[in-house]
Amino acid sequence: MERRGLEYVVLNQGNAQLTELYRSQIGDWPKFFKMDTLSKAGFVATELLLKKLGERRCGSEEFIQSRAIVLFGSTASLCADRNYQETIQNKDDYYPSPALFVYTLPNIVTGEIAIRNHWRGESSFYVLVAPDAAQMAFHLACAFQDSVTESILAGWVDSRNNDDFQVFMTLIRKEDAADTDWLAGQLQLIINDLNK
């Protein structure tokens, strides 16, 4: 029997698309408006993916411990870094913004998603030069080597400026990662879609 491909969500149409999707499809998490573009993109793509999969928000204690988040990107938090830099650029108008500063780490997006979903598994953000299916499959397979992780929210989240981002989000189950060639092939199909 042929194996079913990974379900995924791809978004790359700019910040207005994120706000529109938030308002039309989500709407119950006002903190969305405080997030940087990287977190907004990761958050919205995750929400849409979970909707597509029909997954309930809160599972058992065992479930929330077993759900990990492993994301990849190339520019990390550069976009948020630049936004924050603007608040400290001028010594005569020097007012560092705490709200911008908190996003100057790429793994904040994993935290935003984990908080929203109450997931308490491992979380990581890897910086790669470009989406690389084989490398991503390798890291995902490694993440299943502990005794807890049963599924991983995985994706590429990258934000070059406030209105230019690329994100895909998918869900990998332990059995998917057992065959890393198959997993890399699936990720490559998603990456092809992302780059369209």
Binding site: P30, F33, K34, Y95, P96, S97, P98, A99, V102
Partner: protein, 85 residues
């Protein structure tokens, strides 16, 4: 005072990105933190920056913010008495 309260509400909405809230939605006596607007500790830091940037008030003791940010009325009253710009 009414003018200051309205301006303060507009500034808070802008600086804290309270996207779906209008000045008239904010009760002058409602707590800003906890129930009220549901603000968090990062928002408190942003309000401290707002007071310094827009009104020249430098809070030496951030813990004082708890009292000052009790409500819009309390905050506006503190600003009116202590502002340098």
């Amino acid at each position: 005072m009414e003018e200051l309260i309205l301006k303060l509400k507009q500034e808070i909405i802008e600086v804290l990105n309270l996207e779906d809230i209008k000045p008239e939605d904010i009760d002058n006596d409602a707590p800003l933190f906890g129930e009220g607007l549901g603000l968090d500790s990062i928002d408190a830091l942003e309000l401290i920056v707002l007071m310094e940037k827009n009104y020249g008030i430098k809070l030496q003791d951030p813990a004082k913010g708890k009292e000052i940010f009790k409500s819009i009325n309390v905050m506006a009253d503190y600003i009116q008495k202590n502002r340098t710009r």
